[in-house]
């Protein structure tokens, strides 16, 4: 069976053609009944009229005038069939031999019968006919019939037309269905091939969005977004693997070297074991922190959403965090200010959001020199989103690096010597993403003397 016959659209088409053909058939059947009925009614009317006029003739002029009239009428263009009988049923005159009406009881009676005729080639043909039999006032019986052949032919033509149109409906439906199926199939085949190629491990394959904005485009877009996400996550994992290796290896290497040196020194009786051990402990803590952050990010990304979200006022959270960080800033001679909008609501995991804000502030404090300033703002954007932003007057992040610092483990070259695993903002970004929000980095207040241009980190949560 060719592939197209197995496609869902073709099967649907078939179903619709079937339904439509049935409907058309029912419709045409009605037309047939109506038409055929009409033809019969017309014949009956004509017969009745003929009968009335003959009864008139009889009433005015008697039986002989009727006979006279019959002779004339039998010669006319469209002859009726006539039969005149005596009261007791004997034939007086007429164009047929005997009445098709059986068991005549004196009441007007209708009969359907067959007449035999010769066609143009001399062959014997039978026509259906109808007739009315009635008793005249004098007791004679008159039968008037009519050949229904003409009407029958008309009805037959209608029937033929009906069959032809049913055939046409089916053919056109099938052809249209095939066309539609082929179109739909092509789109589906495109999607299926994308799925198949991805399954075979190909990367960067994307479905074509035709711009028709129909459900196929929607599907294609959905598939593409899914692939984007998967690819990002895969790159994330791969990158994380590399980065863990890198970021854990250097402190581990350092730790090992220190321990080795200390061991040699202590063995030689000249080193201070305590100091080396303290340093080793510090290094180990660093490694563990990195590990913890990596784990948190991985879990958030794997879950795809923040656990146990609640509704709360972001102003409370901002005030809490400010309370934690403000003294710390003062200690470092950094001016801390906050501008917190009231009566907002956000939905999320308060703990993760607190951690995200703390990480942003950690970063700001780390990079802002003494004499600088940090500003925490909470406001509602015109879009209804809630934005937490932290602006500092540190060296900032160059435009081209902003996207990169959110990725895992990236620390800019000149900040290599600062403590921290470089996971701070990646964790923040992961928290934002898990809440359906995002992280935006932009320039701070600009350059002022030696300071600046600063960094503005905006953590945006969707409308609660």
């Amino acid at each position: 069976m060719p592939r197209i016959f197995r496609t869902a659209p073709f099967r649907l088409t078939l179903l619709f053609v079937l339904l439509f053909a049935s409907a058309a058939f029912a419709f045409l059947a009605y037309i047939y009944v109506a038409t055929a009925g009409e033809a019969t009614r017309r014949t009956d009317q004509e017969i009745r009229r003929e009968m009335r006029s003959l009864v008139d003739v009889y009433d005015r002029a008697g039986i002989d005038a009727v006979n006279q009239s019959l002779i004339q009428r039998a010669a006319s263009e469209k002859p009726f069939l006539y039969l005149l009988l005596t009261k007791d049923g004997r034939r007086i005159s007429g164009s047929i031999e005997e009445s098709p009406v059986e068991d005549f009881a004196g009441q007007p009676a209708w009969a359907t019968f067959q007449v035999t005729d010769m066609d143009a080639e001399g062959r014997e043909v039978k026509h259906p006919a109808r007739g009315l039999q009635q008793q005249l006032h004098g007791g004679e019986i008159l039968f008037v019939g009519a050949d229904a052949g003409e009407d029958e032919a008309y009805v037959a033509r209608v029937v033929r037309a009906l069959w032809a149109s049913v055939a046409l409906v089916v053919l056109l439906g099938l052809a249209g269905g095939l066309l539609v199926s082929r179109n739909v199939s092509r789109t589906m085949v495109d999607l299926i091939s994308v799925v198949e190629r991805v399954r075979n491990g190909e990367q960067g394959v994307r479905a074509r969005v035709r711009g028709a904005r129909d459900e196929f485009d929607e599907l294609a877009q959905g598939v593409n977004e899914m692939l984007d996400r998967l690819e990002r996550s895969m790159q994330g994992h791969k990158h994380a693997g590399d980065a863990i290796a890198h970021d854990l290896r250097s402190p581990l290497t350092r730790l090992r070297a220190r321990l080795e040196t200390a061991y040699i020194d202590v063995e030689a009786g000249k080193g201070d074991a305590t100091e080396a051990l303290a340093q080793a402990l510090d290094d180990t803590d660093g490694v563990l922190k990195t590990f913890g952050a990596v784990l948190s990010i991985a879990r958030l990304q794997a879950a795809g959403q923040a656990p146990n979200p609640t509704l709360f006022d972001p102003a409370d959270l901002a005030a809490d965090i400010s309370e934690l960080y403000e003294p710390f800033c003062e200690e470092k001679d950094i001016e801390y200010a906050s501008e917190i909008a009231k009566d907002l609501t956000v939905r999320g995991n308060r703990e993760f959001l607190a951690q995200a804000l703390a990480n942003i502030l950690d970063n700001a404090v780390k990079y802002t020199p003494a004499g600088g300033a940090i500003m925490l703002r909470v406001r509602r954007r015109s879009s209804g989103e809630v934005e937490f932003s932290v602006t500092d007057t540190g060296p900032g992040v160059p435009d081209e690096d902003r996207e990169r610092v959110i990725q895992r483990f990236v620390r800019l070259e000149n900040s290599r010597n600062e403590p921290g695993a470089g996971l701070g903002l990646s964790l923040v970004a992961a928290v934002a993403e898990a809440h359906g929000g995002r992280l935006e980095l932009s320039e701070g207040p600009g350059k002022v003397g030696e300071m600046g241009p600063g960094l503005r980190v905006a953590f945006i949560l969707p409308r609660a």
Partner: protein
């Protein structure tokens, strides 16, 4: 202090027991949940340290069983699972504190001692007293040598926690968890600044500092 360690990782349990014994405590070890339950039923312990993931019976089941039997011994959960929900599960099961592995040893000792202390203070106190320092929990006032010390609300909470655990080391993480209710480690030592502010208020102008820094562990309030 008698401490029950329920931990299936023998090496970790041994290291823990060694450290705790050196710190002057008596340790008993159960190698899985069932053994732990049997020990807990047999003996009187001041604190139990229970690993969450163990063969036969996990830590949560163990603690739930003990709590059903009316055993109120303070429990410190140890776990490699550090997520919020894991911690909440552990505390709901009847645990009193939760420490994520790997941990620094001073952190473990500080938490065990804090748990054991909690048990002593059965009655509700309205007045805390540590040496010259007095805290009135209802009037929200603090005096040292009779002189009133003006504290911010958070500084008051911080000092309250330190006073309740006077003589013990408390770690920065404990303070962040118990005073600020945050369960993450800031990269910067924000807590130090709060401590130094508190210290300047309660120690400045007095002959003897009460708030001590414990190297490698945290802080301690001495009488």
């Amino acid at each position: 202090m008698r401490i029950l360690i329920v931990e299936d990782d023998l090496e970790a349990a041994e290291a823990m027991a060694k450290g705790l014994t050196e710190a002057g405590h008596d340790c008993t070890h159960g190698a899985d949940g069932e053994a732990g339950l049997a020990h807990a039923r047999d003996g009187e312990f001041d604190v139990m340290v229970v690993d969450r993931m163990m063969p036969k019976m996990n830590g949560v089941q163990l603690v739930e069983a003990l709590r059903r039997e009316g055993d109120r011994t303070p429990v410190l959960f140890l776990s490699a699972l550090g997520e919020v929900s894991d911690r909440v599960d552990g505390l709901q099961a009847g645990g009193d504190d939760y420490l994520v592995k790997p941990y620094a040893f001073p952190e473990l000792i500080a938490r065990i001692e804090a748990l054991a202390r909690r048990r002593d203070t059965g009655s509700v106190q309205t007045l805390l007293k540590v040496g010259e320092l007095e805290m009135d929990l209802i009037a929200r006032t603090v005096h040292r040598q009779g002189k009133e010390i003006d504290l911010q609300p958070r500084e008051f909470q911080l000092l309250e926690f330190m006073m309740r655990h006077a003589g013990q080391s408390v770690t920065r993480t404990m303070l962040l968890e118990k005073v600020w209710h945050y369960h993450f480690d800031p990269q910067t030592n924000v807590i130090d600044v709060h401590i130094s502010r508190l210290r300047s208020k309660i120690d400045k102008g007095f002959d003897r500092p009460m708030l001590q820094t414990v190297r490698g562990a945290g802080y301690r309030l001495d009488a």
